[in-house]
């Protein structure tokens, strides 16, 4: 029987959109739209912009446009920048069952590799979908070592598949790129995220770049480890690898259909609690002074995110007290809720101290099928507003077209003018009709 790499490389090389159910193509398209939107938002950050300018200047063959700028960089550096930008606001699409973010690795690899190759929108989407599926399946089969962050790990392998396909490599070439990429994945540390250290965002960028590099290496004749996925994810950065689970339903079950779209620019684990706050408020607007305390019960990992005074925007995205307080004070959980103004807002800081977080072991037992949270907002007048969520919004209940479109525009206009944002949105919305994706950027 063919091994994992052979099986998924064949699947990826044979994949055509004609054979993919319409609802899956729609989901892939929406995931692409969302990923481009959050990438543009990231490109507007001063650090990312500075990095883009430095690396553009340092590119030997600046063939790849850097989104939201007039700059271009070589394909490896462009993938580094786009992947980093894509996760900068922690607003990018993920996959709960895979346990990570396949799209924000595959899409930068696709942008880099399509540059100068006259790739159609359909082929672009096909290659991204193939990379997503392979990555998400590796994620399903992998248990990462404790203390590791998923960005830049198995999703890198998906980026390698996407890039290899867009280079026109055949099944053998895709397999070698996939095998080569496994040893170029990163030994990521979760502590970086908790500290708010923005190197955490570079994990995704460096991972996407490693994927592009692996495809480059395969194309010039380098070979990769047979069964590298099992070695690396079953014993090096992962502690166990389950090939059977990873391959279950390949070609019938589409992992991208299990993905989620974020409507809050923060760690996904916190969203059930914040959504429960929104449900509990039920349209009511509260002044912080009216609130005595907010009790949050949730599953273990979310309940560990208890920093009351996060030191910077990234750390705020991993703080339940801040996320809940900002939602109540600002009435929104988008990018601004985690920027410096929000961090310095005394009303948010004050309310964050009254957010009481506790793990409910019964809720922990319900993960990962569910990610539950309950909230009780106790008002000083004795009223209690409460609600419970088993999953956050945008998961089992996909976001509406309208919500997705308005999120895209809000993100994109941080980097490009509104008319261009709308034009890009319309083009991406119908990406399978695009002749050459280079015309999009």
């Amino acid at each position: 029987m063919a091994g994992f790499a052979e099986t998924v490389a064949t699947f990826a090389a044979d994949l055509t959109l004609d054979d993919v159910p319409d609802d899956v193509v729609d989901r892939a398209r929406e995931t692409l739209v969302d990923t481009i939107g959050v990438t543009l938002a990231g490109m507007s950050d001063p650090t990312v912009r500075d990095l883009a300018e430095r690396l553009a200047e340092d590119s030997a063959a600046p063939t790849t446009p850097l989104l939201g700028t007039d700059l271009a960089a070589d394909p490896l550096l462009a993938a580094l920048v786009h992947g980093t930008a894509g996760v900068w606001h922690d607003f990018d699409a993920g996959n709960r069952f895979a346990g990570g973010h396949p799209a924000v690795h595959a899409v930068p690899a696709a942008i880099s590799t399509s540059a100068g190759r006259a790739v159609s929108g359909a082929r672009f989407l096909e290659a991204i979908l193939a990379g997503y599926e392979v990555a998400a399946r590796i994620g399903r089969g992998t248990t990462l070592r404790q203390g590791m962050h998923p960005h830049g790990t198995w999703a890198t392998v998906g980026a390698a598949v996407t890039s290899a396909l867009l280079r026109g490599l055949d099944t053998d070439g895709v397999r070698e790129a996939l095998n080569a990429s496994t040893s170029l994945t990163i030994a990521t540390s979760w502590t970086a995220a908790f500290e708010g250290a923005t190197i955490r965002n570079v994990f995704a960028g460096a991972g996407a770049a490693s994927g592009v590099l692996a495809a480059e290496l395969a194309s010039v004749g380098f070979t990769g480890e047979r069964d590298g996925v099992a070695t690396v994810f079953g014993g090096l950065s992962g502690v166990s690898w389950d090939e059977e689970t990873a391959l279950e339903g390949l070609g019938d079950r589409w992992e991208i259909g299990f993905g989620y779209t974020k409507l809050l620019a923060s760690a996904r684990y916190l969203h059930p609690a914040v959504d429960a706050v929104v449900d509990a408020l039920d349209g009511r607007s509260l002044e912080p002074d009216e609130i005595e305390a907010i009790e949050v019960h949730t599953f273990d990992f979310a309940a560990s995110m208890t920093e009351v005074d996060p030191p910077n925007p990234l750390a705020a995205k991993f703080s339940l007290p801040h996320s809940v307080a900002a939602q109540i004070v600002l009435g929104d959980g988008g990018i601004p809720a985690f920027e410096d103004d929000a961090l310095g807002n005394p009303r948010i800081r004050d309310l964050a101290r009254r957010v009481e977080v506790a793990e409910d072991p019964a809720m922990t037992d319900r993960t990962p099928t569910e990610r539950p949270a309950s909230v009780r907002i106790r008002l000083r007048d004795g009223t209690v507003l409460s609600a419970e969520r088993s999953l956050p919004h945008g998961d089992a209940d996909p976001v509406s077209d309208e919500a997705l479109r308005s999120k895209f525009v809000a993100c994109a206009t941080r980097a490009i003018p509104e008319d261009r944002a709308h034009a890009l949105l319309d083009a991406l919305w119908d990406v399978t009709g695009v002749d050459d994706v280079a015309d999009l950027w």
């Binding site: 063959a61 203390g147 194309s219 480890e225 090096l236 950065s237």
Partner: protein, 471 residues
Amino acid sequence: MTRTDSSLATLAEWVGSVDLESIPAEALTAARLVVLDTIGVALGGSEAEEVQRLAGDLGSGTGPATIIGTDRRAPAAVAALVNGTSSTWLDFDSGHVHPPGTPLLPAGHMPVHVLPAALATAERVGSSGRDLLAAFVTGYDVAARVGVSSRLRIDIHPHGTYPSVGAAAAVARLRGLDPDGIAAAMAIALGLTIVPSFENGYQGKSVRNAYAGHGARIGVLATDLVLAGVVPERDPIGTVFGSIVSPTHDPELLLEDLGTRWECTRGYLKPFPSVRYGHPAIEAAESLRDAVDAGRIDRVLVETYDLPATLDERRPTSELGAKFSLPWAVASMLVRGRAGPDEFRTLDDEAVRAVAAVVDVVEDPAMTARTPGDRPARVTVVAGDEEATDEVDRSAGGPDAPMGPDAVTTKFRSLADRVIGAEAAGTVAEQVLGLESVDDVRRLARLLASPESGARGLQGRDLGDGDDVVG
């Protein structure tokens, strides 16, 4: 800015403050020799078609940095990637011996990370030989320290892991970052450590040769990331090397004898282009090559300690696989009288294949018990009723029996002359052995280009064009 962990800050402070006068002559001598050796093996490795194609794809006609052994130039990050890859290609490059009293672990190869990153950066900023040498010595030192104070998981290949932090330190120093900036660059490189599998070597898969290049590239990019404002994790040694790729880390060993024990003096230079722990057996075979008629060999027994006893593949199918095969290396020595780059490059010598097929490699537990002080091997050759045996306690080239300038120069010339010509190779050897006198590294580096390599005409397969396009 005191974000980084105090140990890391101490190392960075040291990297930033060491000047050439405070480095003992012994360390400078070792450093110059290993720099020359590394350039030599990079030139040798650049002959690989894959390396020429990679340079053809990623390089261009212009750019601040030389892609060694090719006609291409590139930005520093690209040159570091390709030069790091070519310098590991032959498996002929220098590794580092762990200090006495620490467990035997695969050696870290600092030079193939630190030198490609530092050389490309020196070309970029126009450094002097003095600056390059000091950056190399300090970068080597801090990376080796992360290695010896960790216990890298045994299935993880060291290339692309802790040696990258030395590349980052050297680059940050050459680019003039202050100690906080050097610390941040080191922390960023530590945070982007990859998880390379050792198994690739045994399988002979050439992505293994890209690990060091990737690490050198990360070392270059770390300074760019710092200057852009990316914030590293506070203590990535503690997390990445104290839990993820290494289960434990000893902060005391990290800083032990900093500034008095010079890690670049604890390296070995390889006499054979193959896995280091196989060298004792190859040396034993070397002394037996005239003892028996190779055509009559019935059986060869290699007894050695535990690590090399795993190098038992009798029929390697790739260049890298042959370097991980003791039967191949021993048979080459017995049949051809040599085990140099050419012996591993082509695997179609029937006489070598025939002898390799009768080589048994076994562990002798008594030899394992003598490690790490000794690294013994015993080779017994049986031909009819003749039998000859030789035993080696430790291979040459290590800190206790270092290769001198003549031996290093001979090795360098054997690799360099055929790529850049004897005249340029002679000049390079002379200048590197007197590196402090070089005013501008850019002129030296220009000598490492090979105008005839034709990388410009080579490119990867692309867009369904499955055929080779080598012309």
